[in-house]
Symmetry: C3
Subunit: 179 residues, 3 copies
């Protein structure tokens, strides 16, 4: 069985222009390296804060690269250049409002400006897309808040199985019962 | 005064096909039997996980059966066959985001996968529609989280008055003041 | 430097018709008077619960009066005449879901019917628009829940700088870092 590809999409004018060293992508890579026991490999894309470019990158990670999980970083605030949630909405089949709520609630314990985050999550075929902030410490707070539900979500949409290190995150898979 | 009809809409392929005994409908009936002191009667409909069928059943419960409260069970997750929130959105006049937030927050104390629920609530004329999960224990968690606000909501949209047993749920009706 | 104009929009049939003395507008004015150290002046508009009239009033406060902050009061419930969130959605460029979530969560500690509030916030050019309830005590609860994030939000959309009295509200401005 081959490595599971996981999409990491950095949305940042300054990082794309090379005037700023991206710290969001490495933070996501480090988090996944610690939490996953499944063998995986990152598929990294770096784009400017451009709605169409971000949307196309998500489509490429889902349709061409077949990533069951796509994590974006950056572009979720209220500034005019922040368009990652719009691009995510453009391409997802359906949105999962519980992710944004849980990530904002967790982040609010750290900073009051978590209220300003528009980050969301959605599914696109067999891929789960989650918007994360740009700041490494905020990325960890957000992933800690939702990661236990990520593997089961991907099971439900038919993506590759992911298993976690229970010492770091106990992924929850309910017993197969459904009404 | 006649019994107040309350809609219970079971959304489940397997229950509709008779290969699975529905447990969501009976759980809702038991909850209402305990919480309401108003004399009521269930109007039960069982449908497959089909967006148009669910939407039509909600319309029938609201327009023909005149149910002030319509509780759906099942079909709120991220799987492709889960379409209850879409059908609810199709027919409701307006959505009440506080219900989904409160139900997910309460459910998160039980299971981390509550983040995956897309359940919502909305109004359709004089009817309040609330999506509930399929699992009986999750139904109770969700109704416990929001039921105190249900009678006043129905008052505000002009539906039949519902009174609760205060030993189980203290329905809140603010003093009639409005700016 | 001149006073910063702040929009206060009272949405109420009864207050507009003069059969009820509005208490929401004065409560907002008192709150801002205590929390802001920036010199400001209120721009007060009183309208009926009419979607087009509310939308036009928000546009006027944003485009003509150049208010960096516009606070509405009233019209956020599920009753048919409550249309402030719809009017706000009509004119805003983008919505900020974290505000509604944080205000409902805080209000739920006071009254269970906070679940029924549809209040939201959004940006319109360089203006931040926030829907508040009509009741003075609920206005205070909601502003307490979100005000620490308001000045930074307005910075991000290019509006006038607002500074707060830290004894009442410590406005949070993250260090200028962005990925």
């Amino acid at each position: 069985m081959s490595d599971v590809p996981i999409g990491i999409l950095v949305c940042s004018d300054r990082a794309a222009d090379g005037i700023y060293e991206d710290r969001g992508g490495p933070a996501i890579k480090a988090y996944l390296g610690a939490v996953l026991v499944t063998v995986w490999r990152p598929v990294l894309i770096l784009v400017r804060d451009d709605r169409a470019k971000i949307a196309n990158a998500i489509l490429r990670l889902a349709d061409d690269e077949r990533c069951p999980l796509i994590l974006t970083t950056g572009g979720t605030g209220p500034a005019p250049r922040d368009v990652t949630p719009e691009a995510t909405t453009d391409v997802c089949d359906r949105l999962l409002p519980g992710f944004g709520e849980a990530m904002r609630t967790a982040s609010l314990a750290d900073v009051p400006t978590a209220t300003l985050s528009r980050q969301l999550a959605g599914t696109l075929g067999r891929s789960l897309v989650i918007n994360l902030p740009g700041k490494p410490s905020a990325i960890k707070t957000c992933l800690d808040a939702v990661f236990a539900a990520v593997p089961h979500c991907i099971d439900l949409i038919g993506g590759s199985r992911l298993d976690t290190n229970p010492a770091i995150c106990r992924a929850f898979r309910p017993a197969p019962e459904r009404t």
